[in-house]
């Protein structure tokens, strides 16, 4: 049974208000807290000594979902978890991960999730990963996700990475290798506040002809927080890649955007766009002229930006 805090964390990271339909695996304070498999989606605890699960999705599985949220509600837990997703050919599935840390204690809580995706031919995967932290203890809430994606021909992966509140330190590494005709879309939304530090490093290798990627990051850095966004796209053949980092900087925050484009073929079309700036004064004025206070206007602008 999950307690109220744990249930609340599940709602924050996976939009769950109870047990979801389809396959799921709940991990709470380092232990399995619930699991369901379906005819097409199997979840098994790893047997190689590492902590984590293997998720196997059969060829042709369509319109099914897998939820694998993680909750840490005890202070002082540090764990590294390996989750491997084997998605068959011709699938169309939604995978919802995410981690919520509630830390009321004085010891740091840390979850390092290593997710590997092996996506079969012509399959479509939508992956949603939300991070959330809360609790008034002095212990830090730390998340260091590593995501590796291996896409076979004509597959399509759409990743939504969201971290809006309460995570003190994040170092995110995402690596992908795309075969012929494969597409990877990443939407990262990040807000840091207080003394938080967040680093995101993406490396997408476009290896197959006609492969494409679009890595889009929208972030807001407030207070004394620090953000580093590094996007590297490697075009090894005729392919198209686009990376975009758009950040709003506030207060005494620090934002670094590091683009890297690496073209190894004359037909590799790679674009990087980066913009860092404060909230535009005319946006505030427009919303204030509609009757909003400056603080309300700011909240609307940030809310829209991170939508």
């Amino acid at each position: 049974m999950l307690d109220n805090i744990q249930m609340h964390m599940l709602t924050e990271v996976a939009d769950l208000h109870g047990v979801p339909e389809g396959a799921y695996n709940f991990r709470v304070n380092g232990e399995k807290a619930g699991r369901n498999t379906t005819a097409n989606i199997d979840i098994a605890t790893k047997t190689d000594g590492k902590s984590g699960i293997d998720i196997r999705i059969k060829d042709g599985t369509k319109n099914e979902s897998v939820h694998i949220p993680v909750v840490l509600s005890e202070s002082g837990i540090k764990e590294t978890v390996y989750n491997d997703f084997y998605v068959g050919d011709n699938c169309d599935v939604v995978i919802v991960a995410g981690c919520g840390i509630h830390n009321c204690g004085n010891q740091d809580s840390q979850h390092d999730g290593v997710h590997r995706f092996y996506v079969g031919k012509n399959s479509k995967v939508r992956y949603v990963e939300k991070h959330y932290g809360e609790g008034d203890g002095k212990g830090k809430r730390i998340l260091n996700p590593v995501t590796e994606v291996y896409q076979q021909a004509d597959s399509y992966v759409d990743m939504e990475m969201v971290q809006i509140k309460g995570v003190d330190s994040t170092h995110r590494i995402t690596k992908a290798e795309l075969a012929e005709g494969a597409t990877m879309i990443v939407h990262e939304r990040l807000m840091t506040h207080g003394d938080q530090v967040a680093t995101s490093v993406y490396e997408v290798k476009l290896q197959g002809k006609g492969s494409s990627t679009d890595v889009i990051s929208r972030s807001v850095a407030r207070d004394n927080s620090e953000q580093v966004f590094e996007a590297a796209i490697v075009g090894e053949t005729a392919c198209s890649g686009h990376a975009e980092c758009d950040a709003i900087i506030m207060d005494k925050a620090h934002v670094v955007a590091i683009p890297k484009l690496d073209a190894k073929d004359v037909d590799a079309a790679l674009i990087h766009e980066a913009a860092i700036g404060k909230i535009a004064g005319d946006q505030l004025i427009k919303l204030m002229s509609l009757g909003l206070t400056e603080a309300e206007a700011e909240a609307q602008i940030i809310g829209g930006f991170l939508r």
């Binding site: 427009k286 509609l290 009757g291 930006f305």
Partner: protein, 247 residues
């Protein structure tokens, strides 16, 4: 009623002080459709921004329905019932047309209600309601959405700062119809900054501003014939033929 009493707005350029609005007295009566016109650089847009509270005046007083609003900020003036359509509509990332209309009405209005406001400015509403208010929209579309946000507020005093600026001649034809419609339907005072004869033509009152002062103010019937004989009116007629101002 809006009243400016001896209002001055001063800027400093190259260490030289200049009064963009120079000891201006002006009364805008209730329920009228008033067009402010005059040569470029005369202080028209500055005046409009001063009324909304975007510019802070250097001296003088502003009264709205008898209340001194000189020290009130943009939000307070908006809440008292003043609205402002920007000459250059603001772009947003992630904020959609429906969001802006909901913020304007202050209510979580339905898509159908939001569509009504868009229809009033000649936009096929369903195509626009979920669009982001950014540069994927054309200048004419943004302008009409900007006007729709002011209509959605439904306040007793609405200011439109050069609605014709920056749009092509085809959008302009539609815009005139929009303002003719506003003329017929809107309750309250409408104040438009404009150079366009067709907008001047639907005014109750015309105010001519030059060098930061009111040069003329009166009924359209009295002011417009005078203006049509001046160089600025010739320019207005030319720009109607070609929005870029040339032939």
């Amino acid at each position: 009623m809006l009243e400016l009493q001896n209002v001055t707005y001063t800027v400093t350029e190259n260490n030289i002080e200049k009064n963009i609005i120079d000891h201006m007295d002006l009364v805008i009566p209730d329920g009228k459709f008033v067009v402010i016109t005059g040569p470029n650089g005369g202080g028209k847009s500055t005046l409009a921004k001063t009324i909304m509270g975007i510019n802070h005046i250097s001296s003088g007083r502003l009264l709205f329905d008898g209340e001194d609003i000189t020290a009130k900020n943009i939000t307070e003036r908006a809440k008292l019932g003043i609205s402002f359509a920007f000459q250059q509509p603001v772009h947003f990332k992630g904020i959609k047309v429906i969001d802006l209309l909901r913020l304007a009405t202050g209510k979580n209005i339905s898509k159908d209600s939001a569509c009504e406001y868009l229809s009033k400015v000649g936009l096929c509403a369903k195509e626009y309601i979920n669009r982001e208010v950014n540069n994927s929209l054309s200048g004419g579309e943004l302008k009409r959405i900007e006007i729709a946000t002011v209509l959605a507020r439904g306040t007793k005093f609405s200011i439109f700062d050069e609605p014709e600026a920056g749009i092509d001649i085809w959008s302009f034809q539609n815009l005139i119809q929009v303002f003719e419609n506003i003329r017929k339907t809107v309750q309250g005072t409408v104040l438009i900054i404009s150079h366009q004869e067709r907008i001047l033509n639907i005014a109750d009152e015309i105010v001519v501003i030059e060098n930061g002062k009111v040069a003329k103010q009166g009924a359209k019937a009295d002011i417009l014939p005078e203006l049509l004989g001046t160089a600025s009116a010739v320019n207005a007629a030319c720009s109607k033929l070609d929005p870029k101002g040339g032939f």
